[in-house]
């Protein structure tokens, strides 16, 4: 893998001057991913913060060919681009060289409305990488809940009310669903651990066939947190084992980071305004139940570490 010095010497393919919020997790994720290959890249992005924040006609933050077509179809759109590449290369109409295809989508565009297109593209085995930046909600449209929103989080469609204390469903484990497609590479990553994320992106872009990365993406606006705390919160999501870092490479699962000291889930919740209500005494069970689930899932991953899944 490239060293930090080498990575930082690479040309920036996603420029500054975009309109994403300060403290947003998306730009470091995108920049790290785009640095993870020396081959030319074509990318697409689902409707959402990244798409809206990286373009406004006539400006673009993308120094690579890029297309946004709609919300639920990033995987289908990139399927078409990648297929055109194979078709035109075969016919000698484009230079005969390796190219990479990446689709970016938020958790809404991936876990929810885009899951069908994603599943289809993974099953067909297009040679591409799908990157989901998971900020736990529809942030672009004003912080509505998604199926990635954590249990009990307050959003504008799962508000903490007098009767219902925020979202009342467990989040969907999309990485598990993706792994069930038996694609050559799937991983979870977080931008605070740039080395782990970059290594995974390198692998994901190297394999032939479909690859998937689910990346934790802090959102100061939607989480009610301070912009300067984003990377700290990303790290806490991993150290509490809410967001385990692992990969499944050709069917074999590997936990890529094991915290020396597993932090209590509360520590991740506490600084986030969206969980304020769960610290009321009557909601204490919400934290307990969440902690139990996290412990179970973490143990499941540890049991599978190094095994074929």
């Amino acid at each position: 893998m490239a060293t930090l010095k080498e990575l930082s010497a690479k040309k920036e393919l996603f420029t500054g001057g975009h309109r994403l919020c300060s403290g947003c997790g998306i730009p470091p994720i995108v920049r790290l991913i785009l640095r993870s290959t020396d081959s030319p890249i074509v990318a697409t992005t689902a409707t959402g913060c990244l798409e809206v924040g990286s373009t406004i006609y006539p400006y673009t933050a993308w120094r690579i060919p890029w297309i946004h077509s709609a919300f639920e179809n990033a995987a289908a759109t990139i399927s078409g681009v990648e297929t055109a590449y194979r078709a035109l290369r075969k016919r000698g109409r484009i230079p005969d060289r390796d190219m990479k295809f990446i689709a970016f989508g938020g958790d809404g565009g991936t876990y929810d409305i885009g899951i069908q297109a994603l599943s289809g593209a993974l099953e067909r085995g297009h040679d591409f990488l799908y990157v989901c930046y998971d900020n736990g909600g529809y942030m672009n449209t004003g912080i509505q809940r998604s199926s990635a929103t954590p249990m009990a989080a307050a959003t504008t469609t799962s508000p903490a009310g007098d009767v219902i204390p925020g979202k009342q469903n467990w989040r969907k484990d999309l990485t598990k669903i993706v792994v069930a497609h038996d694609i050559p590479y799937a991983a979870q990553a977080s931008p605070h651990n740039w080395a782990d994320l970059s290594k995974k992106a390198e692998k994901a872009l190297k394999v032939k066939g479909a690859a998937f990365m689910n990346v934790m993406s802090p959102c100061p606006l939607g989480w009610y947190t301070k912009p300067e705390d984003s990377m700290k919160l990303a790290k806490l999501s991993v150290d509490t084992c809410y967001w385990p870092l692992y990969e499944v490479e050709n069917g074999v699962l590997r936990v890529t980071y094991k915290p020396k000291e597993k932090r209590p889930f509360e520590e991740w919740l506490k600084p986030q305004g969206r969980f304020k209500h769960v610290f009321k005494p009557e909601n204490a069970h919400l934290i307990e139940e969440s902690q139990k689930r996290i412990d179970l899932e973490w143990q499941r991953l540890l049991d599978l570490d190094g095994k074929r899944v």
Binding site: Y57, I67, S69, S79, G80, A84, A117, A121
Partner: protein
């Protein structure tokens, strides 16, 4: 009825003719999803792919929404792209139809006309493509298998013309045309290739030396200019349709204009109708002409863009007109064809009487006697100058 191929002709269904035409075009990418009654297009084309008869990369998408999305990705990437669908499939694509036209991607799609649910029905009407009439696609309608086949190549030329660059839809009737075997004149592969020519991609994504951004956010300051340019481009398509039609006629002996007329020049009463039902109407006209009734027909071929001036010129001498729609706008004010034709005629000093008749929904038969009944009504309107019922469902 036994079908025997006559010399120089081949007996093919509408779907087989389209699949064969696609094979002859040999596009770079095809992404399609099966739906009755257009399924055979996807099936037969995938056989051509499996047998190596084409170099096309075929994407077996998991839905029509993804079919159109993949077509958009492939077309923006720089590929020549084709697909086919019907009914619910076209409805599922609806969101992406606007993206394809807004991005000015010259995708060519065959839509085999079928009714929309509910209730679910697999048979012909035009509610699917009529629902997409404002999606910014060129729409060519076809009476016969031959015309559908010929329209496919012309659609490609029109869509890809640099004055236009707008996606195009070729429509014909589900089952009636898609599954009926007709003796048609096929072009040779060389003739097809010579006619459609090589595809020239404009600003392709795969040109990595010159990175472009497709689908940027565009707000109050620029959105309207994009739409204005799109509107200008689709308006220009009309001239290109005529031009391409003439060239096709010169090369292959079959010329199609913006519309077809049948015994319209001296007609007092006329029916305006799309696709296969025009054939039935022509038989009725022949019968009525035998009785001295001056009946005629106009069958629009190009429906989007709408050639309003040409249509109203062709119809202006007629005394009473019935627009027969195989789709209802559910506006309580007649079908879409009626509304467009009637609006086109408004500029005339002396306007004919124009009535709306809805026929053939969900595959309901439209027989010669049904056409005659409409002409009888028109004769009455002509005589009395009075329209009793402006809008009416017939054959119910």
């Amino acid at each position: 009825m036994a079908i025997t191929a006559i010399k120089g002709k081949t007996a093919l269904t509408g779907n087989s003719a389209i699949a064969y035409g696609m094979k002859q075009i040999n596009p770079d990418v095809c992404a399609a999803y099966p739906i009755t009654p257009s399924t055979q297009i996807a099936e037969e084309f995938s056989s051509y792919v499996a047998d190596g008869a084409v170099q096309t990369e075929y994407v077996t998408v998991e839905s029509e929404h993804s079919a159109m999305s993949a077509c958009i990705g492939a077309s923006a990437a720089g590929a020549r792209v084709m697909t086919a669908t019907s009914s619910q499939g076209l409805a599922l694509m609806w969101e992406m139809l606007y993206v394809a036209s807004g991005m000015r991607l010259p995708i060519v799609m065959t839509n085999v006309n079928r009714a929309l649910s509910a209730p679910i029905n697999i048979h012909c009407d035009h509610s699917d493509s009529m629902g997409a009439r404002d999606a910014g696609w060129i729409q060519l309608y076809s009476e016969t298998v031959q015309e559908g086949y010929d329209n496919l190549f012309q659609a490609m030329r029109i869509a890809e013309d640099l004055r236009v660059r707008i996606p195009a839809m070729v429509c014909f009737d589900g089952f009636i045309t898609s599954h009926a075997i007709e003796n048609i004149e096929l072009l040779s592969d060389e003739e097809v290739q010579g006619f459609v020519g090589e595809f020239k991609a404009v600003n392709p994504l795969l040109d990595v030396e010159r990175p472009v951004t497709y689908g940027a956010l565009s707000l109050q300051d620029t959105y309207m200019e994009f739409k204005y340019q799109q509107s200008q481009a689709i308006s220009r398509a009309k001239e290109v349709v005529i031009e391409v039609g003439k060239e096709f006629g010169k090369r292959f002996g079959r010329e199609y204009g913006l519309f077809e007329t049948y015994k319209l020049d001296d007609a007092d009463v006329a029916v305006v109708i799309l696709n296969s039902a025009a054939g039935t109407t022509k038989v009725a006209i022949d019968e009525l002409r035998g009785k001295g009734i001056k009946a005629g027909l106009l069958r629009p071929r190009l429906y989007r863009p709408f050639p309003a001036v040409e249509l109203s010129n062709a119809l202006k001498h007629v005394k009473a007109i019935a627009c027969l729609d195989r789709a209802d706008s559910m506006s309580g004010f007649g079908g879409p064809l009626f509304n467009d034709i009637r609006s086109a005629m408004y500029e005339l000093e002396a306007r004919p009487k124009i009535i709306s008749r809805i026929y053939g929904l969900g595959g309901r038969d439209y027989k010669v006697r049904d056409a005659i009944a409409v002409f009888d009504e028109l004769e009455n309107v002509k005589k009395t100058g009075v329209v009793d019922e402006l809008m009416k469902y017939i054959t119910i």
